[in-house]
């Protein structure tokens, strides 16, 4: 696959927000629903990858990262996540490790158990 779309968080805000939309602006949930979900659908329909670039912002809350990437795993599945999503960060590559080592597993388990995406 060749990159078709590079999505840069910094193009939308310098200050990424909290986990949920109700908690504040530019949340992980908002980014997923507003931009990422549709972009993945588009990438899948034409067989391309989506690169999500984390560099250039003031910094991230762990909850933002968890919600943004966890939702992808929950809605599209682990296989699609691995084949379609490329995360880049020269400034803080530890976020990539966090997603691959913890977020993906946690949300995969959540999905398999049939647990809701958000607490009721």
């Amino acid at each position: 696959m060749i990159d078709l779309i590079i999505f840069k968080i910094k193009d939308h805000t310098e200050y990424p927000g909290p986990r949920y939309t109700k908690q504040g602006v530019f949340s992980g949930e908002w980014f997923y629903k507003k931009h990422i979900k549709d972009l993945i659908d588009k990438c899948l329909s034409i067989g391309k990858t989506l690169t999500i670039d984390l560099d250039g912002t003031a910094g991230y809350a762990a909850s933002f990262i968890d919600e943004l990437f966890g939702n992808i795993v929950y809605d599209f599945g682990l296989d699609v996540f691995k084949k379609t999503i490329i995360i880049t960060s020269n400034e803080e590559p530890e976020w990539i490790d966090l997603v691959n080592d913890e977020v993906v597993k946690d949300w995969q388990i959540k999905k398999e158990k049939g647990a809701p995406k958000k607490p009721e």
Partner: protein, 186 residues
């Protein structure tokens, strides 16, 4: 004797002076000195030159190494001081969410810079601070308090989280001191 002023020129000057002194001795007493006197004279000269060289070279290396260690220790102490200051302000509900996010990112850069220098120049690999920093960031920014108060001016953290942070700050202090000892004794 303070040897830190010994440098290449002073060594060369010393050797040159000794050679001239030896030359004068040979000129003045040369024909009266027997073979054993010559050997003793040469032995003295060689010993003086060797001792001077060894003192100069080792002292310089030691001084350079000490200065480098002091520099990196100072950086570690500054980072430790910033951690304590950050935590004190956090506990007093004085910090904004955006400031916190930026602080964690910038502090991460400083820790990486120290890790790199420790590994490159001193052969010290120490990942405890990086790991504690990562855990601290996740603990705080993943918390209910942090996310629920994101739209407010200042972060207000609950007592349970405060206690966890204070408990973890002990681990930070231990890790920083441990690292400083490692640098001093490496």
């Amino acid at each position: 004797m303070d040897l830190k002023f010994i440098n290449k020129n002073s060594i060369l000057g010393l050797i040159f002076g000794l050679v001239i002194a030896a030359f004068i001795v040979v000129i003045k007493f040369g024909f009266d000195l027997d073979k054993s006197d010559f050997i003793a004279l040469i032995s003295i000269l060689v010993n003086i030159i060797l001792v001077s060289l060894i003192a100069a070279v080792f002292q310089k290396r030691f001084t350079d190494s000490r200065q480098a260690k002091n520099h990196i220790v100072k950086e570690i102490e500054e980072v430790h001081r910033d951690y304590k200051l950050f935590t004190n302000r956090l506990i007093r509900d004085e910090l904004e969410h955006k400031y916190i996010l930026r602080w964690f990112k910038l502090m991460g850069f400083r820790i990486k810079h120290i890790d790199y220098n420790l590994k490159t120049h001193f052969g010290v690999e120490y990942e405890s601070i990086s790991k504690l920093h990562k855990d601290y960031r996740i603990l705080l920014t993943n918390s209910q308090s942090f996310n629920d108060t994101f739209s407010q001016n200042k972060l207000k953290i609950d007592i349970g989280l405060q206690n966890t942070i204070l408990e973890d700050s002990k681990n930070f202090s231990h890790a920083f001191l441990d690292l400083i000892f490692k640098v001093h004794y490496c």
